[in-house]
């Protein structure tokens, strides 16, 4: 955990008693969670446990029924200009990359800086090229997304997030749609980001990534946070029956 995450600091992301239903289904049950600056929090759990939904509530891609979500101590605004401003400060990387199909790679990365942050085009392009270089796809800058592999597209999506200079980045199962040989290259970029001190909330099934990179692991099941702790504590010595069952079920594969 970084030095900034000391006691008493205002968390970058804080959820207080968040509840959400999809119809009759209670998908988030009294979720309390905070992420400190520079912290890497990994959420794991069986499919349908609500971890993706939790991640999507933080920048209000999903609304909540009750509770409170604060970014840097400020409650999430309602839909509108203020929410757009806030979303510009929180990056999001999606399972299915979601690059803009009609734009080339460079334009995908510069759109936010030029149109949302109103930065000069030239400056935005220069920084975008640096970011593309950092994630290793600078040679693809003038291709369109469909010409890239999944792993390359996801790395571009990460660069698109970084171009906004976000306070934190939410990763919603970033490697789940990738062929196995491409998962490594994306996790590598994410590991570097974590080491550079980026605040990250990662929903994933990649247990090795959680073990190596997370400051804290959160285990969710059936809409609740069942257990949380350091990766060592959680993976070596899970406290709850449900966490033990989950870890056993993935060990068998």
């Amino acid at each position: 955990m970084s030095a900034y995450a000391a006691e008493g600091q205002v968390p970058v992301i804080e959820l207080r008693h968040v509840d959400k239903h999809f119809g009759d289904l209670h998908v988030l049950k009294d979720i309390c969670l905070s992420v400190q600056r520079g912290e890497v929090v990994v959420i794991i759990g069986p499919s349908g446990s609500g971890k993706s939904t939790l991640c999507r509530t933080i920048n209000r891609m999903e609304t909540i029924d009750a509770g409170e979500i604060l970014i840097d101590g400020v409650p999430l605004p309602e839909e509108g200009k203020d929410l757009a401003k806030l979303r510009a400060q929180i990056g999001m990387v999606f399972q299915s990359f979601n690059l803009f199909a009609h734009m080339n790679i460079l334009e995908n990365v510069t759109l936010g800086p030029t149109d949302v942050l109103k930065r000069p085009r030239k400056e935005a392009r220069e920084e975008a090229m640096q970011l593309l270089k950092r994630v290793g796809v600078e040679s693809q800058a003038h291709k369109v997304p469909a010409q890239l592999s999944g792993g390359q597209q996801q790395r571009v999506a990460i660069a698109r997030s970084l171009a906004m200079h976000p306070k934190a980045i939410l990763f919603d199962e970033p490697t789940s749609a990738l062929d196995p040989e491409m998962i490594g290259e994306v996790l590598e970029v994410m590991t570097e980001l974590a080491q550079e001190g980026m605040t990250m909330l990662v929903v994933t099934h990649e247990m090795n990534f959680a073990r190596r990179v997370a400051d804290r692991v959160i285990f969710m099941d059936d809409g609740s946070i069942v257990e949380e702790g350091t990766p060592e504590a959680f993976f070596e010595n899970p406290q709850t029956e449900r966490a033990r069952n989950f870890l056993n079920s993935i060990k068998n594969h």
């Binding site: 920048n59 891609m61 979303r87 510009a88 999606f94 299915s96 979601n98 199909a101 698109r160 997030s161």
Partner: protein, 205 residues
């Protein structure tokens, strides 16, 4: 020759109006404001479902009772643009529905406002994937301008001229045949240009 020019002119202006109107209606139909959405849908339901001839007759013969008198050219233009605008909007809606919802979420996640998202993501993609239907619409708009033959437009459009020849001189059938060939030739040219544009701007998915 004059008549062919009139037809082309009507077609070009009507399509331009229909296109702009169609884009506006479509933006209304996807806007977060319910009254705008309702108006957009209402417009499409009305103008997609009225025969052009009917609309023209209303404009030319009924509107004067409301003290609204427009020139024949204006009336033809209005009839031949309001209806294609409804179809234009329908084609664009199809294009919009083809945009994966994830791209909309991505646009929101980088902090784009609704207006920015429409301008930079939604409209460009919808347009680029609607080139072929819009080409068809341009041809259909041209054929709709044949409505002008129903009113004494001066100079007459292609069908109007032919109808005039048919009633005042011999060789009416030949005249209709020639006009059909001219419509056809124009449509083929439009179709080729449409294909070229489509190849250029088509979005790889």
């Amino acid at each position: 020759m004059q008549a062919l020019l009139t037809t082309w002119k009507l077609t070009a202006v009507a399509f331009a109006i229909a296109f702009v109107l169609g884009v506006l209606i479509t933006v209304m139909r996807v806007s977060p404001l319910k009254p705008l959405r309702f108006f957009g849908d209402f417009y499409v339901q009305i103008f997609r479902n009225i025969p052009g001839a009917c609309l023209l007759i209303i404009l030319v013969y009924a509107f004067p009772y409301l003290d609204i008198i427009w020139s024949y050219f204006t009336c033809v233009l209005i009839a031949a643009s309001l209806i294609p605008a409804a179809f234009c909007s329908e084609y664009l809606m199809t294009g919009i529905n083809a945009i994966p919802v994830g791209q909309i979420e991505a646009a929101r996640s980088i902090g784009m406002t609704f207006a920015q998202m429409i301008r930079k993501i939604v409209v460009p993609q919808a347009l680029r994937s609607s080139v072929l239907p819009l080409t068809n619409l341009l041809v259909a708009t041209m054929l709709t301008t044949a409505l002008a033959s129903q009113v004494p437009l001066r100079p007459a459009d292609l069908t109007g001229l032919v109808a005039h020849i048919n009633t005042h001189a011999v060789g009416g059938v030949t005249a209709f045949f020639i006009s059909a060939m001219l419509y056809c030739a124009t449509a083929v040219v439009i179709g080729q240009i449409g294909n070229l544009i489509d190849k250029k701007v088509r979005i790889l998915r």
